[in-house]
C-alpha cells in the first residue's frame, strides 16, 4: 500500500525469553512470507496472530528478516546483544529506520527495480519507480508497493490480503 513511511498509528510487540518481535500492521503489504514460512508462529487466522512459542528463536529471526517492509522487526531482549547485530539481519529494529538513509543515497543504492512474484500472492515492486494508474502518476524513491494478482482486492490496484481469503492459487 502507499502510505507515508514511518507513519504508524498502531503497533504491538511479542516476547519470548530471548527476543521481542514488533508488529506494525500499517506497514504490512501482504507479501505473505511470514505465514508461508512459519504458520506455527504467524497465523493470520488466529488471535493473537503472532505466537512466539510456535518455534525457536533462530527460526523466528530468520522469518522476520524476510519481511520486505517494516511491518515485522525484532530485537534481543538483552540490550548488549543488539549492538553487535550485523546488516544481514535486515529486520533488526536498528536497521528499520529508513529516515537515517538520505534520499540521494537511496537513489544510488537501489537500481534496478525489484519485481517479485510472491507465492500465491501479490507482486511486490521495490526501488525507484513511477506508477501510473487511474490517470494518476506517482514517483517512489526507495519505495515499496504490493499489487493485486488474484483479481479480488477491494483496494485495486493494490493488494489488500484478499488472495489468502479466497484461496488464490497461482497456477
Amino acid at each position: 500500500m502507499e502510505r507515508p513511511r514511518n507513519h504508524f498509528t498502531r503497533g504491538r510487540s511479542y516476547k519470548n525469553d530471548e527476543i521481542t518481535v514488533y508488529w506494525k500492521p500499517d506497514a504490512c503489504i501482504h507479501a505473505s512470507y511470514c505465514y508461508r514460512e512459519l504458520i506455527e508462529v504467524f497465523d493470520p487466522g488466529r488471535r493473537p496472530w503472532i505466537d512466539l512459542s510456535g518455534s525457536n528463536t533462530e527460526r523466528i529471526i530468520e522469518v522476520v528478516n524476510m519481511c520486505p517492509t517494516e511491518a515485522l522487526s525484532w530485537k534481543w531482549n538483552e540490550d548488549a546483544r543488539n549492538i553487535d547485530v550485523e546488516r544481514d539481519q535486515t529486520n533488526h529494529i536498528k536497521f528499520k529506520r529508513p529516515e537515517l538513509m538520505s534520499t540521494e543515497k537511496a537513489k544510488d543504492e537501489i537500481r534496478p527495480v525489484s519485481v517479485k512474484i510472491m507465492v500465491d500472492g501479490p507482486v511486490v515492486v521495490k526501488g525507484n519507480f513511477t506508477i501510473r494508474y487511474n490517470g494518476k502518476e506517482k514517483n517512489f524513491t526507495n519505495g515499496i508497493i504490493s499489487l493485486c494478482r488474484c483479481g479480488g482486492s477491494n483496494q485495486m490496484p493494490f493488494c489488500d490480503g484478499t488472495h489468502r481469503k479466497i484461496g488464490f492459487e497461482d497456477k
Binding site: P112, V115, I117, V119, V123, N128, N134, L147, R149, D170
Partner: protein, 70 residues
C-alpha cells in the same frame, strides 16, 4: 506508449515505470530484476505484462484471459 530510456533516467532517478492498464494487466518496463518465487525464475526483462485478473493460464504473465471474463 513505451517509455524512452532517457525519460526513465532523468529527474526522479526512476528506473522503471509500473503501469496499471485499465481492465488489463500490469505493465512494467525499464531496468527490472524479476523474481518468480513460486517457479523459481529470475530474469531481467526490459518489459513484462503481469496478470492481475487471476485467470491467466500462463501466470504470472497476462494471456488476455481478462477479456474472456463473463
Amino acid at each position: 506508449m513505451p517509455m524512452e530510456r532517457n525519460e526513465l533516467d532523468e529527474n526522479t532517478g526512476t528506473s522503471a515505470i509500473v503501469e496499471i492498464i485499465d481492465n488489463g494487466p500490469i505493465k512494467i518496463s525499464g531496468e527490472i530484476m524479476f523474481w518468480d518465487l513460486k517457479r523459481d525464475i529470475t530474469d531481467s526483462p526490459s518489459e513484462i505484462y503481469l496478470c492481475r485478473c487471476g485467470k491467466s493460464s500462463n501466470k504470472p504473465y497476462c494471456d488476455s484471459s481478462h477479456k474472456m471474463r463473463l
